[in-house]
Amino acid sequence: MRLAEFSYGDSFIHRMDPRSKIVTAVIFSVFVAVNNSLQVCALALVFPLVMLGLGRISFVKTLRRLGAINSFLVILWLVLPFSYPGDPLFTIGAWTATQQGALMALMITLKSNVIVLTMMALLGSSSIFSLAHALTHLGIPEKIALLFFFSYRYVHVINTEFETLSRAMKIRSFKPNMNIHTYRSYAYLVGMLLVKSFDRSNRIMAAMKCRGFTGKFYILHHYQMKRMDFLLPAVSGIFAALIMVVR
């Protein structure tokens, strides 16, 4: 499992204050998600592409991830052109595809890709820990931030346990198939993961209590907004305004 692979880098995008990146990513994504113009969506694509370029984030890896998302959109392309009312584009048997439907599917595809690319460029270029840290500075409840920290901290550990257990199953010639035996085996695998994690969480809690944990999450490193960090939200805002005008 390769997690957060884009966060290792040393470009000026990587060094930027994560708070400014989060705020920009959220506002820009909402702007793209709620607008209803194909031109705006197409023009908006420029922003994440420039950011990916500035962050020197691998083009090949980005494309590979986009492939995964776009496979979700295939179903939309299969259905939407045929269900959207409008002028006929072409006909297959009793099914007629409409221009408006195809344009709608195209717009959704564009929106999806723009938002995901923005996320990869801005949020992907920070480590998960610094994002969680930045979120506490932005005022999300402390319990959520703690939960986020714990979850991410142990995803790797639990995944390793999962891999050990599935290797053990493979050694015993387990072959997944569509039968009760398969479902029961997977359920016991999940059950075992739950049991191991439950025990681990008790040990963690005990260790934390020994070290004086009282529920407070201390932040040692405070962020300082530099002039550069105001640049990003400003640039994205101007860009958004510009494409609304150009259209």
Binding site: M1, A4, A25, S29, V30, V32, A33, V34, R65, A68, I69, F72, L73, V79, F82, S83, P85, M107, I108, L110, K111, S112, I115, V116, M119, L123, G124, I128, L131, K143, I144, L147, F148, F149, F150, S151, Y152, Y154, V155, V157, I158, N159, F162, P176, I180, T182, Y183, R184, Y186, A187, V190, G191, L193, L194, S197, F198, S201, N202, I204, M205
Partner: protein
Amino acid sequence: MHISEGVLSGAVLIAGAGLSTVGVGIGIRNLDYDQIPKVGLLSAVFFVASLVHIPVGPASAHLVLSGLCGLLLGWTAFPAILVGLSLQALLFQFGGLTTLGANTFNIAFPAVVLGVTVGKLVNNENPAIRMTAEFICGAGSILFSGLLVALSLFATGKAFLPASKLVILAHIPIMLIEGLITVFVVEFVRKVRPEILSPA
């Protein structure tokens, strides 16, 4: 199960975000600091379990286990699922940023409602009753999540009606398997570590 970015209308996104905020708010009020490691690790388990692909007919589906999550965590499942979905969005770009609210609500709400009602029966003496309850939690969560996803799509535009129907149809086989797996997991946990099932 996830709705990707760019599909839903602004109104649906806002409704989803608002409803999820309420749910998460109730969830964290019920969450003691002592329980945070436990809930954090459980949401990591659900995250890892969602990478497990199980065969369903000719295709395969990944585990969701939202019903199990609601059954074990009650209202706390709301923040746990929010965290799990955020990690999926950040690490794999599944789901997304603007849809986080709607997706959290669609997955967590049925799980929580079933978990705090039917889920109370999991410690029943009668194995038939408790296994039925477990099955309902597992299968019902998927069914109602599927309906909520379909409803979100339909509320975005009437043109999504066939897509909504397809979503519901696709959820039916997954629903049955999730129900079965939930029963097996809970019965396994009962034998091995019954404390997990007792309310904290």
